[in-house]
């Protein structure tokens, strides 16, 4: 168990908690702020890259080498590793925002919507899995009450509802909740991880199982 993060300072840039505040700082035209923002961005890119390479606990020195920003500066921007992971999650989120979109949502026959949905979720999983694994390890020791996870989950849940709106439209209340939870079971992060391990990373098999499972659930509703 790593130590709890120290008291957070009020510096919005160092904590990356608010993208809006960040933008305000940058548009003031202060050169130092702009450089700092560039460096910060390079650091976060490097963290994401290391996570993606399977290094869930990158050393600050590695991040420094990869980003070209000195260790000293990194420590100035991020006081604790947990802050770095948190900021990297926001950073990645902004970067993958376009890939998160599900095109033609809710349109087409059921079979087509199922296939599109499964393919999309597998693609999102491939992008988000490395950082999610890393963040979870941090979240275990830090009381990361999952603002970051929560935001993602809301978007993904809504997508699911929109994609299968015709099937769920006749349900309401507790019955709806139960049907949605049941149908969505395979797409929980842990489920995808489990399937990934069970099928040794074979995405075709994962897709086949997920498609079949979703079809079974949605056809019952018709």
């Amino acid at each position: 168990m790593s130590e709890k993060a120290g008291t957070l300072t009020s510096d919005p840039i160092a904590h990356g908690a608010s993208p809006d505040q960040l933008r305000d700082e940058v548009v003031t035209g202060d050169g130092r702020v702009a450089r700092r923002e560039r460096n910060r961005s390079a650091v976060l890119d490097a963290v994401v890259e290391l996570f993606e390479a399977g290094n869930t606990e990158p050393a600050v020195e590695d991040v420094a080498v990869l980003s070209g920003v000195s260790s000293r500066s990194i420590y100035r921007y991020f006081h604790h590793r947990d802050e770095l992971v948190r900021a990297a999650m926001w950073h990645l989120r902004a970067r993958v925002e376009p890939q998160m979109q599900l095109v033609d949502i809710g349109e087409g026959p059921l079979d087509e919507r199922i296939d599109n949905f499964v393919a999309h979720r597998l693609a999102v999983f491939a992008v988000l899995a490395p950082i999610t694994r890393a963040a979870r390890r941090t979240a275990n020791s830090l009381d990361l009450s999952s603002e970051e996870f929560g935001a993602f989950q809301m978007v993904l849940r809504q997508q699911f509802l929109d994609q299968f709106e015709p099937e769920f439209s006749t349900l309401a209340g507790r019955v709806l909740t139960r049907a949605v939870v049941a149908a969505e079971i395979g797409f929980q992060f842990d489920s995808l991880e489990y399937l990934f391990t069970s099928f040794e990373g074979n995405t075709d098999k994962m897709g086949h199982l997920l498609g079949r499972q979703l079809r079974i659930h949605l056809e019952v509703l018709r």
Binding site: R137, S141, V181, A182, I185, L209, I216
Partner: protein
């Protein structure tokens, strides 16, 4: 902690009163930690543990250099105590509906018994061998029990289809999904039971 201290039957230890006391205290610290786990305290504070165990904070640190070490030792002890309940139940006879009911009931009982332990284990570290073994064991017994209980339905399938069907049908019975339903979605035992029964019915009757 030296290996002699871990081994209470050694004659050297029995002759030394101080070591006896040390072992008793160490035991008390572990028991107090387990009690706190059961009460939902996933990362108990060292001074709370000391108070509960009736020993000084200094002693706690003498037995366990770090909180991680304490949590790990307590988890291990707890696991040993609970191990008999992890042993797989033999399959029952009956029609498909009866077997599904029984199987889901078994799995849920197991979940409610082991969830506090699993939560502690996951806080420790997913990569810890002890934690990994625990979850691997849980998954393996789930697959084995499932295969034994639903042999009639699964027996006709080829290897590929068998693996696919087993993975699909046992997915909703995984620890993380029970946790998701119970903690994440606020379902109670009855709702969870209804949901997993329905899942198994869908999967097994689709074969």
């Amino acid at each position: 902690m030296t290996s002699e201290l871990m081994n209470p039957v050694s004659t050297e230890i029995r002759t030394d009163g101080r070591i006896d006391r040390r072992l008793r205290n160490r035991e008390a610290v572990l028991e107090a930690t387990i009690k706190m786990f059961i009460e939902g305290e996933v990362i108990p504070a060292m001074d709370d543990v000391a108070e509960r165990a009736g020993v000084s904070l200094r002693s706690v640190y003498r037995y366990f250099a770090t909180r991680d070490e304490l949590i790990r030792a307590a988890l291990e002890q707890w696991l040993l105590q609970e191990a008999p309940h992890l042993v797989a139940q033999p399959p029952i006879e009956g029609d498909l509906a009866e077997r599904i009911e029984y199987f889901c009931g078994q799995r849920l009982a197991l979940y409610f018994r082991f969830a506090p332990l699993a939560r502690v284990a996951l806080v420790l570290d997913e990569a810890d061998p002890l934690v990994r073994d625990l979850f691997d064991y849980g998954r393996d017994t789930l697959s084995e029990q499932f295969a034994a209980q639903f042999e009639t339905e699964l027996g006709l399938l080829g290897h590929q289809d068998w693996a696919m069907a087993t993975t699909a049908a046992t997915l909703p019975l995984q620890y993380h999904l029970f946790e998701y339903m119970h903690v994440g979605c606020g379902f109670d035992a009855t709702e969870m039971h209804a949901l997993v029964v329905e899942q198994l019915q869908l999967h097994l009757s689709a074969l």
